[in-house]
């Protein structure tokens, strides 16, 4: 007797249909075998399925059972085929038919209950695109899949319940998607008002958040770089619908969605340590897995102590910084992950950290300083829009008003301005494929950043005086565009451009 249970396989973010074919033969010795390029986790599913069926009070058939995962030439991995295999066997034993146009996914536990399984959202998207009507997923994974309208998502608790449903003895209600409130609020560690002084750096953060610009902060230890970065999530605009789906897809594939989790609506803040491996940051591995750059998609990738990161990691970030995605090629697979993130980097000016410090003496030789600063390669620096030098703040020089954090602008107020600027950008780029000013290509700059003669001349003079590269020249225009957006003005004027020049690449050495 042959039963077909449809499921899927995820290759990167691409989904392909897989038919789980279960054959129960009366002839031959009793046994249980899986074919069709299963990996270790799929192969082990035999033991889980056997135990789960027995625990559900059904005698495991003593027949020769062969499972084929078709198409047979694509590597299948993970535990998601437990449910389709078990459903196939049960339908033969209990004599129920599997509803048409349905997909199954889920990992079984020995007691017959289903566990949270990664990739449910992708299956739901696939189902909708290819005309499937129902999907059966573990209860904990149902909410994320439920975000996709137009298909029925059945939250399955255990095998008994599911069998009951197919035998029409029990009912399972399709899930009604609800936002998970716990996940929405990912509070920033600090409020911007807790950062005393550093007005220009805060302003740069605001511009970066509004336009999605990359930013680098250079300054001595204790000057507040990390604090500023940690306060950044508090002023980031929320994700829009398309962005939210893009981000949740990556997290679903990576298995980073909590049980019962919903769509991610906040921009993610990823802060990998500088000892993280190349694969950990970029993604890859024998089973390609999204790295930190992809998990930071549409969000922030914060790299503290940027020049401590290995050279190969930094250079590998050039493609995602430029294109907003990266391709991981292995001998047998090629997957593409989106990685359009906002880079926030912080670095010390020299090995001891106190170069140009007003109080402390730097103990480094000039050669050490040069060598240290050269660790960040030119091409990477060239891809960063905002460059900020951060000096330590002496609060004793502040007046009481300046010291009183209650009087300073809170993240909430800054966030409102950022959202305002973000909406302007979304409206502007409605017909283009981009979302923010930082993503503008030359053609967009030509269309949306009309410069008057005066401003063009100013920029030209600046590019000679400050030796701006052609890329920096364009970046300055993009930053000026964001500054104008924050002000709610369509025309870029002289003071927007002049302010943008404040954040140009700097040379930190004295030579």
């Amino acid at each position: 007797m042959l039963i077909k249970v449809p499921s899927v396989v995820n290759l990167g973010l691409e989904t392909i249909k897989v038919d789980v074919e279960v054959n129960l033969a009366n002839r031959g010795l009793p046994g249980f075998e899986i074919v069709g390029l299963p990996d270790k986790a799929v192969d082990e599913s035999r033991e889980r399925v056997r135990a789960a069926i027995s625990s559900s009070g059904v005698d495991f058939p003593s027949k020769k059972i062969t499972v084929n995962l078709a198409p047979a030439d694509i590597q299948k991995e993970g535990s998601l085929y437990d449910l389709p295999i078990a459903v196939g066997i049960l339908s033969s034993v209990l004599q129920f038919s599997i509803p048409e146009k349905s997909l199954f996914l889920g990992e079984l536990s020995f007691d017959g209950f289903l566990r949270h399984t990664k990739g449910a959202l992708l299956m739901a998207l696939f189902a909708k695109e290819f005309g499937f009507l129902n999907i059966f997923v573990p209860k904990d994974s149902a909410n994320e899949a439920g975000a996709i309208k137009g298909i029925k998502v059945f939250p399955v608790e255990n095998l008994i319940q599911l069998a009951g449903y197919f035998l029409k003895r029990k009912n399972i209600e399709p899930i009604v998607y609800r936002k998970n409130l716990n996940e929405i609020s990912m509070p920033a560690e600090f409020d911007m008002r807790e950062v005393l002084g550093q007005e220009q750096a805060k302003r740069a953060m605001e511009i970066a958040a509004a336009g999605g610009h990359n930013i680098i902060m250079v300054g001595s230890p204790g000057s507040g770089k990390t604090m500023l970065a940690r306060a950044l999530p508090g002023i980031l605009p929320p994700l829009n619908e398309t962005e939210s789906l893009e981000v949740t897809k990556i997290y679903s594939v990576a298995g980073n969605i909590q049980p019962g989790g919903s769509l991610i609506t906040t921009r993610q803040f990823r802060a990998p340590h500088h000892t993280a491996s190349l694969v950990g940051i970029i993604g890859g591995g024998t089973r390609p897995h999204p790295g930190e750059v992809s998990l930071a998609h549409r969000g922030v990738l914060f790299l503290d102590e940027f020049n401590e990161f290995p050279h190969n990691v930094m250079e590998a970030m050039r493609q995602p910084l430029e294109d907003g995605y990266l391709t991981i090629s292995r001998s047998k697979k090629r997957v593409m992950y989106p990685a359009d993130f906002m880079l926030v980097a912080s670095a010390n000016p020299c090995p001891c950290g106190y170069f140009n410090h007003p109080k402390k003496n730097c103990t480094c030789t000039q050669q050490q300083i040069k060598k240290y600063q050269k660790r960040i390669s030119g091409p990477i620096l060239d891809r960063i829009d905002l460059h900020i030098a951060i000096s330590p703040v002496d609060t004793t020089e502040f007046s009481d008003n300046q010291k009183n954090s209650e009087l300073l602008e809170s993240s909430k107020i800054i966030k409102q301005r950022v959202i305002f600027a973000k909406i302007r950008q979304e409206k502007r780029f409605e017909k283009d494929l981009i979302q923010s000013n930082a993503q503008m290509k030359n053609i967009h700059i030509k269309n949306y950043c009309k410069l008057t003669k005066d401003i063009e001349e100013l920029l030209h003079r600046a590019s000679i005086k400050f030796q701006l590269s052609a890329r920096s020249y364009m970046k300055t225009i993009k930053v000026a565009r964001t500054i104008a957006d924050l002000e709610g003005v369509e025309e870029i004027n002289i003071s927007h451009m002049a302010e943008a020049l404040q954040y140009k690449p700097k040379t930190y050495e004295s030579a």
């Binding site: 002084g197 550093q198 007005e199 220009q200 302003r203 000016p349 170069f355 140009n356 003496n361 730097c362 030789t365 000039q366 050669q367 040069k370 030098a389 951060i390 000096s391 703040v393 020089e397 502040f398 300046q402 100013l458 003079r461 600046a462 005086k465 002289i494 003071s495 927007h496 002049a498 302010e499 020049l501 404040q502 700097k506 930190y508 004295s510 030579a511």
Partner: protein
Amino acid sequence: MLKLVSMVQIITIEDKNYPKLLKEIGNDAPKKLYYKGDWDMGIFENCLAVVGSRHLTSYGKKITEQLVTEIAAAGITIVSGFMYGGDEAAHSATVRIGGKTIAVMPCGIDLVHPEYQEKLYNEILEKKGLIISELEGKFQPALWTYPRRNRIVAGLSKAILVVEAGLNSGSLITAKYAKKYGRKIFAVPGQITSDVSKGTIKLIKEGAEVVTEPGDILKYYNFSLAKLNLTKPSSTLNKEEQKIIEQLKREPMEADTIARALSVSVIKIGATLSLMQLKGFINQESGKYYVN
């Protein structure tokens, strides 16, 4: 042409062209000197040693440039030790104005130390300056060669100018030699809280002459100020720009500090600063702005 001047030559203490001032220091005088460049006796007539901290502040750098530019333009030879920081600032200010300068190396004559200042090294020779060392070949610089080098710097010069120096710095060693050889010592006053001003303040307390303008030193050499045509920006400043200049004249500041002092938003200040920088009124270095 550069090939010729970059040839190493030797002069001994018995030679009649050996600098007289250096000979006067008696037992300290090197028996043999290796040199590159054109050995013209005129270069030794009026020498001023300019020394300063390796970690020159932007203040120190600015003062070195201002003083050295005018002094070198008046025709005085600037002697220094080719180290980065103060020495480098003195040498490069001199070559920029086309003046003559002598670099006394702490290493063998065939080495350029620090290596990355090779461009400056060649410029010194191009402008008819001298590279001198008492060490031969590729002798590596060592901890003890720096203070030994300093005695030659002091010995060649009629007077020495210390711009910024820490308490245990090589600049103070040079000053000590200068005192021993009876040379005049000039020192630039700085903030008493700054570590790199502690050495100069110590010198002033011990009787060094305070320098506030190039004339102070030129007077000692009986030289007069050369008519330098240092172009000042001619366009006029508006009120806000004037206020910023006033602040910056006191000390270099970051944009944040200026904004706080003037109670103006940093957004506005930032834009104004960029424009002023483009017009050439002010300049920026390591985050701080200063008046040109």
